[in-house]
Structures are given as C-alpha cells and as structure tokens.
C-alpha cells in the first residue's frame, strides 16, 4: 500500500461547481497536512495547511482532516477557470520529510 493515495483524475467540472479532492494515507504518525496547487511547469504553491484533525477555511477553500479515518479533503466552492491546476496533498510527521500524493488534475470549464 502506498503511503499517500490520491486519485490522479483528471477531474472536470463546470464553473461554479463545488470541487471535492481527497487523499488517504497509511502512516498514523502524520501530523501536518497540506494542500498544494501546481500549475503546469511551476513549483507547488501552498494553499492550506492543517495540524492534526479538524477543519480550516480560507476564502473559497476548506481543508478537512479526519485522522481516525486517515482521510483528508480539500473543498473548493464556486470554482473558477483559474482554479484549473494539479492539486497535491502532502503530509509529514513532526520533523521528517513531506510525502506527496500523486496529484489530481482539475479543469474548471467556463
């Protein structure tokens, strides 16, 4: 079993839709959970981070972490064409390296 599982998509939605992106993981020691957005040929850009379980909201983005289920989610409300990118989940233990999911390619159609 891979340490971090993420459906690579592609995922295509109409403008204005709610997007749900998810990752599962196997390492119960992960404590920090991040979502990155990566445009083509660019480095990953941090969108959200959460420590341990819970929800965090930032504008149109909401991150959820359920450590009991080893499941994290990113919701995008009122999706825009500019949200079209690859979204990567990432997680780490306290001071260890970060493990990335494979990334989900999202296209928001006008």
């Amino acid at each position: 079993q891979k340490e971090v599982e993420q459906d690579p998509g592609p995922l295509s939605v109409p403008e204005g839709a709610i997007v749900s992106l998810n990752c599962t993981y196997s390492n119960s020691a992960f404590q920090y959970f991040m979502w990155y957005r990566q445009y083509s040929r660019k480095g990953p850009e941090l969108l959200m981070y959460t420590y341990s379980s819970g929800n965090k909201e930032d504008g149109r983005f909401t991150a959820q972490v359920d450590k009991s289920s080893k499941y994290i989610s990113l919701f995008i409300r009122d999706s825009q064409p500019s949200d079209s990118a690859t979204y990567l989940c990432a997680m780490r233990e306290n001071n260890n390296d970060m493990r990335f999911g494979a990334g989900t390619r999202l296209t928001v159609k006008p």
Binding site: M34, R41, K42, G43, P44, L46, Y49, N94, N95, D97
Partner: protein, 112 residues
C-alpha cells in the same frame, strides 16, 4: 512576496556529466529541501538540510547526489554522473518551520 529562486530553468546535459542545480532560498528560512518530479509522476523527496547538514535523505539520494550551502545564501544540488533516468524537474524548497514549504519554479533537467 519572498520567493525561492532556482537557476537555470532548463539544463541539458550529456549522460555521465556532472550538473549543479542552484537555489536561493528565502533569507530567514532555516530548512532547505530538494524534490524531484519525473514527467507525469508524483513529487518525490530527495533530501532535507538544516543547520548546515543533511537531516534526512531518501533512497533516491544515493552517492551520485550531494548538497551544499556554500555561502549562506545559495543551496546547491550536485549530480556527479548523470543518468538518463535523472531527467526530471528538480524543485528546491525552504521553510521556516515544519510546514508551509515555499517551492521554487524548478529546474528542468534533461539528460541526453
């Protein structure tokens, strides 16, 4: 907004040659990292660097790889004898704390 700068943006090298990829992390950051992303595949951890030494490295980071912080601002990744399978995007990242890495735009390495 502070950013991580990587040079060159694209490097083409012949198999067996040495390459040095350069990075200028954000000035007040203490942790530095190299990641790579083979085309169409996931971002993979190579190495982390803190307090002037390697703090962790992956199985990918073998004896062909080395890192250096030669002058307090630059952070370099050297590949001693490149192989075709080293072709990838190499991302440098830095962070102030355990989360929230800032990534550079990457160097595309093509080994021919």
């Amino acid at each position: 907004e502070p950013e991580v700068t990587q040079t060159p943006s694209h490097q083409v090298t012949q198999m067996g040659q040495e390459v040095i990829l350069r990075c200028v992390p954000i000035s007040n950051h203490l942790y530095f990292y190299w990641y790579r992303q083979i085309l169409g595949q996931k971002v993979e951890f190579l190495v982390s660097f803190y307090n002037n030494e390697i703090s962790e490295k992956s199985e990918i980071f073998d004896d062909q790889f080395s890192v250096e912080r030669p002058d307090g601002s630059n952070f370099t990744l050297k590949i001693r004898s490149t192989k075709l399978e080293d072709s990838a995007m190499y991302f440098c990242a830095s962070s102030e704390e355990a989360y929230g890495y800032t990534f550079g735009s990457g160097t595309r390495l093509t080994v021919v």
